[in-house]
Symmetry: C2
Subunit: 563 residues, 2 copies
Amino acid sequence: MRIVIVGGVAGGMSCAARARRLDESAEIVVLERGAHVSFANCGLPYFVGGEITEERSLLVQTPQSLRAALALDVRTGSEVTAVDISAKTVSVRTEDGTYELSYDALVLSPGASALRPPLPGLDSPRVRTLRTVEDAVALRDEVLAGARRAVVLGAGFIGIEAAEALARQGLEVSVVELAPHPLPPLETELAWLITQELGELGVEVRTGIAAASVEHGDDADVVVLADGARLAADIIVLSVGVWPDTAPFEAAGITCERGAIVVDAHGRTSAPGVWAAGDATVSVDAVTGIRRPVALAGPANRAGRLIADDILRPDDARALPHPVGTAIVRVGRLTAALTGANRAALDAAGIEYRTLHLHPNQHAGYFPGAAQVHLVVHIRTADGALLGAQAVGTEGVDKRIDVLATAIRAGLRVDDLIDLDLAYSPPYGQAKDPVNLAGMVGENVLAGTLRLWYPEDLDEARENALILDVRTPAEYATGFVPSSLNVPHTELRDRLDEVRAAAAGRAVRVMCQSGVRSAIAHRVLVQAGFDSASLSGGMLTLRAWLGARQNEVLERPGVLAHA
Amino acid sequence: MRIVIVGGVAGGMSCAARARRLDESAEIVVLERGAHVSFANCGLPYFVGGEITEERSLLVQTPQSLRAALALDVRTGSEVTAVDISAKTVSVRTEDGTYELSYDALVLSPGASALRPPLPGLDSPRVRTLRTVEDAVALRDEVLAGARRAVVLGAGFIGIEAAEALARQGLEVSVVELAPHPLPPLETELAWLITQELGELGVEVRTGIAAASVEHGDDADVVVLADGARLAADIIVLSVGVWPDTAPFEAAGITCERGAIVVDAHGRTSAPGVWAAGDATVSVDAVTGIRRPVALAGPANRAGRLIADDILRPDDARALPHPVGTAIVRVGRLTAALTGANRAALDAAGIEYRTLHLHPNQHAGYFPGAAQVHLVVHIRTADGALLGAQAVGTEGVDKRIDVLATAIRAGLRVDDLIDLDLAYSPPYGQAKDPVNLAGMVGENVLAGTLRLWYPEDLDEARENALILDVRTPAEYATGFVPSSLNVPHTELRDRLDEVRAAAAGRAVRVMCQSGVRSAIAHRVLVQAGFDSASLSGGMLTLRAWLGARQNEVLERPGVLAHA
């Protein structure tokens, strides 16, 4: 039996390795059009930034090591240009010419290429991508050769990593992003923290704007933006998205959807004996059911492995799980991570949801180094099912998102989070872990014990309600919503008459710094007969939300105008 | 309605706070016999060790702050000495005398006291416990007053934290533990890493031995061990376990089991209108069903909250979940954490299980700072249900144990771990996270694709099988099992005849450094017709297991004798 695998990274190599472990007798040929297989594609920005110093560190495996360990026939510089699905052959182009190779099973894991928008001047040699080891080495060489200014087109995960890497190397870096904020999948109120951190790193962020053209110059190129701004650049990194590399397979009659290969629950394509995995395939989102390619290493590796199972032991092969879509990125001192669906995906899928905001410490507040995890959790209104979560902070972000990703995969509801026994000791967590706290807030919301209002409701609240700020006077003085009333939560029970007079029959919208004290105050108010709601995430969330919008309520970034 | 709560830490205080949020009109009285409520009991060792510098940092709340925020009537220095369950009153002893207090609902959260074994001389003033803020302040005062030598009796979590704290302050510290290794709930092969780290910290560890007596002296006491060894000590920290503080409640006729209060699914005791939470209650282990008190903050807080629900909105109150029993401790540079059941608990419960050992890096190996997570996972033989997990390492331990604790709570099976979408980027994880890898190993074991052997089988393997070491010759030369054959896994396919000749009809027991290469080799051997098995966790696990046993195969600690 000959298994031919197209693409020697992530999905393809996982498939090859698994196939060998299952079957010593199979002939396993891996065709990779690039110069390297199984390389550390996620490590490329860190090589450019100088944290990974050796090029060979990026080469996790070589054709030689794979032959020795797993008896794989790995052929680099070998591009599959055509497939004959009835003859069961592929055409392989190498620098020495083209040959035909027959297969019993064909696994397509070609990945995706950098999307190249139809932008005048994008053919400049100063325009780079960061997809291969060669890309990374070339970029690093330019950095070492004294490049001074870089423009990164696209502020997605890789764009941000590239921007930080270049800034670390001392370049002046601008990032241009069409979406309203960097890391577009992140919710607005969390992305603001990233925007600020990029500023700390010396990266200029230009969001909500498109690049219009690239003007070639002798000394430097100029990226011209839609508003006419001109950004000189020695290096331009193109990182506005990817597109499945599936032309020869679609041409062979394999069913594709917007360029991505359609697969069934076992990774089988429309052609008999042909499977596909990774960035070039259509996935079904586990939360929303939306169909789209998911460019993540984890699901690709998993699909490759399960496809090997399906090829070699089809009766026992498990189905590919739908990806939950967990991702993480380091930005300066911060970590941003997300799992499941965000607001945009939930809105697109027509799912009704509530959002929770929390800012708990990552470990006991009395232990040195306590720092906030800024956490957003979306739950289904109907039953409290966990739909998605995001977090930003300096520490403990990855842990909470991984726990929530596990909970989403397991189908837990928000109140189940209360019951998780998470490891607690002062250096590691809290007796009520941030995840447990999210469960408690969610349960209260579902039970009606807690009613939330959101930054989006600010204008309406200012118009029609009394905004009651229950922080201390000292906190209040650092910035507050104009015309809000300040009554510290510790004095609220004794000053209810004052609140009643100020409300004058209107609803009361309570707020504090993070949403904890305002929830307590809300309970006092509700039981005293007020129409009350507590601001989700408090001033911390409100500030970030307003900051991201450059809302005019702000006197200066991060601080609200005084009344 | 008057709710009386006995005990103002963890469970008791969680109950009080939740009750107030649910009901503004209830009278809520918290009776605490100590001087402080809601103090940071888990922070006490870090105060002794000087990492937490201010005593007030340990006082998370005060009676005043709780009155202001939550209108709680918190009475410290108030010990409940009796309960009349028919009259619904408690007797409260204070320094001013005793009074009776009636209740509509009574919540018992008295906690547990340090167990005092019947040891001659234990009444010395140099014998200390570490349960209260006063204990911690007194210990720290002695440290600052120049104490030089300390003996810690008991190497459980708090004993180890205390030992490290005292060693950090420059004291000579010995720890005495009856069990064969420190942190008795940890599996032997992981505990060895802790033993070594304690050595690095300058803590002398004496295990498998009891203290026989304490001899009082003018200058110092002497702890005499069962083997006659004499350890001089300025400070003796007693930390051999705890005992529920339930005497007055048992005397009142409330059903107890070996001193711990028996509660139903809603925390109700045998007496109407009386609930109980925390260290003083019997819990049912979520994995094994074994009934025992669980002295952990998380379950206590949760129980307190759910009891408030049951008192004030009984129709909507959820049942208390059975604790999974997750715990964590920092030891020097290491973190040790565990969740679910260990071997001892599984053996006691008669559950058939398999054990997996892995040593993956916490993040991408090519990214700076990669370090191994030493992971042990127990799965049910019958169906792969996750039963327990433990890990030790310098980084990423807490995250993996929290993910596994979540998976256990959710009832996932080991192969479900493959499907978890955990956050990956080089600084945070691996495209195949350690937890995913555990799932793959477990699936292979359940499917029969991988057959494991264990350090426990070493003697039998040496006698009846060929031990085949597939590491490189350089690795092999650093220590190996006597009479084992070294064939690197990359040469195995070409040297099968050699293996066949050496095996001479015997089984082959393969091993490598961590269990990854030996699993590949196992597949080659099985398909070539050998009776083969792969050493779980490889030489890393074997060394730790032998080290913990001071096995004579060792020539020097950590390195096996050469043949």
